[in-house]
Amino acid sequence: MSDVASKPASAPARKSKGGELTTNAIGRRNLRNGLLFIAPNFIGFLFLVLGPVLSLFYIAFSKWSAFGMPKFNGLENWARLFRDDQFKHSFWQTIYYAVVHIPLTLVIAFGLAVILNSKLKGKAFFRTIAFFPYITSIVAAAQVWSMLFDPNAGVVNQFIRIFTRGWAPGWFSTTEWAMPGVIIVATWREVGYFMILLLAGLQTIPSELYEAAQVDGANGWQRFWKITVPCMRPTLFFVMVTLTIGSFKILDLTLVMTNGGPGDATYVLAQYVYLQAFTNGNFGYSGTVSLVLFILCMIVTIIQFMYNNHKEK
């Protein structure tokens, strides 16, 4: 079985072919070709995305109100971060959200993708349904979910009370349960989206692998871990990274559902970034908070990157 698991793409023998000179020539040819392929996207990317993004690295060390030029002020913004309780609070709320939301969404979306990739009757119907939350207006979603989560009359709590002899969480009216509520709604909203990406990834697994595994007598669970997961590794890496970044940058949903409340129970970093920039006019400090968010995302991404490389070897 372990043979099956190794990635079909690896062909180490081919890579070290040719002498010094040709390697160099190939290297130059590859560089030219590679850049040619990348160019159409990269030119747009450089000017429209990378440039403005890099300017953030200056803004984060400046005082700036969005008007005129940013004024460099060294580490002043960073010193402020350490005194800023609201920043610290939203930092931990963001971590809380991400840590629960990422695995939850990944597992459900993956399960959904596998089920809806089988020979299930009506799978086109179910796929469409699963994508619906992502295209439903977020305002409508917030409205209906707050109704379902109503502490007294909501369907969710009526169901919970069957098992708990009358106790039920207060959801959006309590500080403890507001975040779990937001996470549930976010997961509901995003599984369909990630399901699409995973479905596309599942298409790349040759069915012959499953046939061979079946001949070997592997059961469904083994096939999942020995074939599906390894073959999906590049896709999974992509899904993990976008899911992680998306979770750390969560904003619309908390804004519409709770606006950070009750109190500041669901106040996340992205909301703080927006508040500091567009409400308070502190674009410099807002940039500093963005940079923290960026560093947070990158740490997790690089860990995933290294883990992924390690597994592929």
Binding site: R14, V144, F238, M298
Partner: protein
Amino acid sequence: MTSVTSSPVAVKGAPSGSADIPFNKQPVSPAKIVGTIIGYACMLFLAVFMVLPFVWMFLSAVKPNNEVYMVPIQWFPSVWHWENYIEIWTKAEMGLWTGNTIFFAICVTFLQVFTGSFAAYGFSKIQFRGRATLFLIYIATMAVPWQSYMVPQYKMLAAMGIANTRWSIILLQAFGAFGVFMMKQFYDTIPDELSEAARLDGLSEWGIYRRIILPLSGPSIAALAIITFTNTWNDYMGPLIYLRNNKLWTIQLGLKTFIGQYSADYAMIMTGSVISVIPILIVFLIGQKQFVEGIATSGMKG
């Protein structure tokens, strides 16, 4: 490397057979049938939760405005205002907004898929110096919240005279890192042997891309197209910042005109939102046909 690993290259057009992941065992026992029924019941139950907000949206679209956010909530309208679906075209400029949105979504999707898959090929299949670094830079830009660099970006485009034109939205959305990253990861699943072999046969890089890789990327292009289309279609902040001329407005921006400073016409917003879902559904239904299990490498000439 065993025969199993190399099979994708060797086998051609083999019947995909019974690749059975859950739900698909051949011998039918009564327990299995009951299980299947329970499975379907669960799926249907979940499906209801998935569409409930949409149903609310649909019903709110035909309510009198003051009933949309009524306390306690009221599912059905007291008077059914079906004419909202006509009025939004006649009294508001829904036609214009839809046209603009379709234009933007198609241009952006096309550019994103085209340049994205092109660049992804470079990143995935051509070994060149610095590609890992460059690729990491691409990913890194995704980790920066847009609201923190949108002002510098706006200033730049405004200075170039592009703000408040159709170009602004197209340029803004088309060159994100998302498409490149996604396509690159999918190309990584295509065995390198394919491109290496073709290279030995003397095929140019363009030839490999065009004749070997592209035909295999149906599902991933479909996924990227669905997602780019949906995101461009539903984008609000981009058009909000860049478009002041109401002849260029998109649906999302246009629907906001129903919100005044102190009050709003929610029924109309819901009407517009319901209509706005239809094109996305069409694109989704076309795209998801690409997700046919197990076609990946078996349908290809070795």
